[in-house]
């Protein structure tokens, strides 16, 4: 069954959901092998504290911060039986770029929060997050999520829940947002939830085909249409002014 919900980019290009389901037997088999590769890749990344992402230099985060954030992101949206996750989407690349632009006010919050997170892991679990056994990592993340890691002694000066909520929000943006901003690589996020893509027109017939499971996913960034003024990714500090 796992293969049914798997929407790997390489298998779903040009395939409708119905075709995907029809071909479930085949894709399950192919999916199993590719997913296996993804899983082991993710594991490698966690174990070594290193990943393919780190070959691309971070623009704002340090290598250490970026790698920690990648492992956190991989726990939030893992690459697993239901498909590729935040690492495949390059969600951290999205966050890193945004921290130099629209999210620049959050850069110091990330710095402080990631450092606090490591302090918390050391004081409560006896090691850096990436060195902890799986169950300890999950429980440490739950502590941060619920606010239990809040308090200077515990590691977080500010609310650990607020930090978790911010990171989760940005990981979602980097996984499911428009690829123009550096995440959602190969549209893995949109495929995961069955979003049939940005269109500039949806006819009555398109809607009918969507409801019949026959609408082909459309893979294009909003800025693939030349008619639109480009949004700012990271050049101007905020890049949110309206046209003048």
């Amino acid at each position: 069954m796992a293969g049914d919900r798997t929407k790997r980019k390489d298998q779903t290009v040009g395939m409708t959901r119905r075709e995907l389901l029809r071909g479930a037997g085949v894709s399950a088999a192919v999916g199993a092998s590719t997913l296996g590769a993804v899983t082991s890749y993710a594991k490698t990344a966690q174990q070594s504290g290193n990943s393919a992402e780190s070959e691309e230099a971070y623009e704002q985060l340090t290598t250490e911060e970026g790698q920690l954030l990648e492992v956190i992101a991989d726990h939030l949206i893992p690459s697993d039986d239901s498909g590729p996750g935040a690492l495949d989407a390059k969600a951290v690349r999205y966050i890193d770029r945004a921290l130099g632009g629209a999210l620049s006010d959050s850069l110091e919050v990330y710095r402080a929060g990631l450092a606090a997170f490591q302090r918390y892991c050391r004081s409560s679990r006896g090691g850096d997050f990436m060195e902890l056994p799986h169950n300890d990592r999950i429980s440490a993340l739950i502590d941060v999520e619920t606010g239990a890691a809040t308090g200077a002694g515990a590691g977080f000066v500010g609310s650990s829940a607020a930090f978790f909520s911010m990171v989760r929000g940005h990981v979602l943006q980097g996984t499911f947002g428009d690829p123009y901003y550096g995440g959602n690589e190969n549209f893995v996020g949109w495929d995961l939830i069955g979003y049939p893509g940005v269109r500039t027109a949806v006819t009555e017939n398109d809607q009918r085909r969507l409801e019949a499971g026959e609408l082909r996913p459309y893979r294009r960034s909003a800025y693939g249409w030349e008619e639109f003024e480009k949004a700012t990714v990271s050049a101007a500090r905020k890049g949110l002014r309206h046209a003048d």
Binding site: R5, R168, Q173, D178, V202, A222, F228, H242
Partner: protein, 568 residues
């Protein structure tokens, strides 16, 4: 000293939904009009289908002016106020009508006569304690021709339910009599919307498509809607959303009588020693200008309308312009649109495309459309199910307590259910109360050192009772359509900063309790008019924009008709 500009007949402060409509009848009459707009002029190229920019980063709100003057909020005098992160209104030629949901409802006839109708049907004791609600100075019938006019001039699509007293079951059987059908057919329905309509019918309710200022065919040479799904917090890439930026404002400019001044930040409305308005002072690009005029129409949204009046003090008006009866800021309320209900269905809803004005409404539980004799509240709500979904929002969906918020189980859940939930906010009757009001914040200021608005307001028992009642109805409707999980939002308490902000410059015959008269002209300042929902004394259960626009047109027509009296 500000640079003194050549005079003009009328200055409109704010070219949004209301001011943008008034510009047309004023300019067409031959009066010279200057429209001062704090924002810039945006066009189709600015409206990319980009969820991250529009919805997540709230691009429409991140603007030059409003964002710097976000009101502070407190539920009552005893609680400290706080300032939120977002001002939900937009500066720009066309204002918030650029990115609004474009739902273009008329109010129900009951909303104009809440006091007398409650007294007649249930007795005066049924009026909620502490409410300052009054009947409007006129009934629905008086506004009907202006509703009709605006629906035609900007273009509204919908299905009539009552034309001259003849009920059409395809439309809203509870609406006030219309003089004519909508100029365009309603927006189409999706399979899920049809399914919800069928469920409503099974319950014995009367479902119908909602009205929208969105084209369903080529109208005035502009395109029909493309249903692409980025209407919510986005402008229209094909000009099918009938914002004043593409309807009344360009037509007013084409007369040669409207001059649009963008990036104009109005700071005061100035008067002479006789208490008449002489002009408006504004900042533009660091320079200060004085625009002399014979008449000012203040149309800058509820918070800024009140702020400008309270800031414009003079010998004639020591506590604010048109405030010698201390009514500016009173009778304020934010529409109760919270107390949401979310539902999970065991099938895909196919809601990825569409727009929030595309949907099915039920008014059986709105206004006084049902008997309240055995209920402990007055009023009701409009039930509304619409098609609006984008991927980041969908991935962040409510998990109905079924899975954690992250990890493998969560991921499998959203992979299965991202297109299977629906959330309804419900617009409900909201009343003004003695203890709810706007004033100037004693501490928080904008970058020019001018105080921002402080909202002191909370929903009272009547609003909370309506909210709970409506949640029951909404849950019943979702379950009838096959929902398997339901989550209800809180009933609400503090009236926060709202896109549906009413009162503060209420309209009424009594100058002791109202700021403007039945035509929207100040009781105290003979050449000052006010437009927008700030003049509305009741909300009804429907979006305010069309009513604000109909009132604005009516005020503009009055200015034209009475020009020789008002301008001298």
């Amino acid at each position: 000293m500000p640079t003194r500009l050549p005079g003009t007949d009328v200055v409109i402060v704010g070219l949004g939904a209301a001011g943008g409509v008034a510009a047309l009848p004023l300019a067409e009459s031959g009066l010279s009009v200057v429209g001062l707009e704090a924002g810039s002029r945006l066009t189709r190229k600015d409206f990319a289908p980009d969820e991250l920019r529009n919805n997540v980063r709230a691009w429409p709100f991140t603007v030059q002016k409003a964002q710097r003057e976000i009101p502070t909020v407190r539920p009552n005098r005893l609680t400290p106020s706080t300032q939120g992160a977002i001002h939900p209104m937009m500066n720009g030629v066309g204002g918030t009508s650029l990115h609004y949901w474009a739902q273009s409802w008329r109010l129900n006839p009951w909303d104009f006569k809440v006091v007398s109708e409650i007294r007649r049907r249930y007795g005066v004791s049924k009026i909620p304690e502490g409410s300052t609600v009054e009947d409007w100075p006129f009934g629905y019938e008086e506004l009907e021709p202006y509703y009709d006019r605006v629906e035609r001039e900007i273009g509204v699509s919908g299905q009539a339910g009552n034309i001259n007293g003849t009920i059409d079951r395809r439309g809203n059987p509870f609406e006030g009599a219309r003089s004519d059908a909508y100029p365009m057919e309603p927006l189409r329905w999706t399979g899920f919307i049809q399914q919800m309509a069928d469920a409503a019918q099974n319950l014995g309710w009367d479902p119908f498509p909602g009205p929208a200022a969105v084209n369903t065919r080529t109208y005035q040479d502009r395109s029909a809607c493309m249903y692409h799904g980025f209407c919510n917090r986005g402008g229209c890439h094909v000009d099918a959303k009938n914002s004043t930026a593409v309807t009344t404002i360009p037509r007013a400019e084409a007369t040669g009588n409207l001059q649009v001044v963008s990036h104009a930040h109005v700071t005061t409305i100035d008067v002479d020693r006789n208490g008449r308005v002489t002009g408006v002072t504004y900042l533009q690009g660091g320079e200060e200008f004085f625009q002399p005029t014979k008449f000012v129409l203040l149309a800058s949204y509820t918070y800024e309308n009140v702020r400008l009046l309270l800031r414009s003090t003079s010998r004639s008006y020591p506590i604010g312009l048109s405030n010698n009866h201390a009514q500016v800021g009173r009778h304020y309320f934010s529409h109760h649109t919270g107390a949401s209900v979310s539902a999970l269905f065991p099938f895909d809803l196919n809601a990825w495309y569409g727009l929030p004005a595309q949907g099915v409404a039920v008014d059986n539980w709105a206004d006084d459309n049902f008997d309240h004799a055995d209920l402990d509240f007055v009023g009701g709500g409009n039930l509304w199910v619409y098609s609006d979904r984008r991927p980041i929002g969908a991935a962040g969906m409510n998990t109905f307590g079924l899975v954690p918020n992250w990890g493998s189980a969560w991921k499998a859940f959203i992979a299965e259910n991202a297109d299977r939930s629906n959330t309804s906010y419900i617009q409900k009757t909201t009343l003004p109360y003695e203890s709810n009001y706007l004033d100037l914040d004693p501490v928080v200021k904008d970058p020019f050192g001018h105080p921002v608005i402080r909202i002191t307001a909370e929903y009272k028992e009547n609003e909370l009772a309506v909210a709970e009642f409506m949640q029951e109805k909404m849950e019943q409707w979702y379950r009838e359509a096959g929902a398997t999980e339901i989550v209800r939002g809180g009933l609400g308490r503090t009236m926060g900063v709202s896109t549906h902000a009413y009162g503060g410059t209420r309209m009424g015959n009594n100058a002791e309790t109202n700021v403007v008269n039945r035509f929207g002209v100040s009781h105290e300042v003979p050449n000052l008019g006010i437009a927008g929902a700030s003049v509305m004394g009741t909300s009804g259960a429907h979006n305010p924009t069309l009513t604000a626009q109909a009132l604005s047109w009516r005020t503009a027509q009055h200015i034209v008709d009475q020009w020789s009296t008002l301008a001298d």
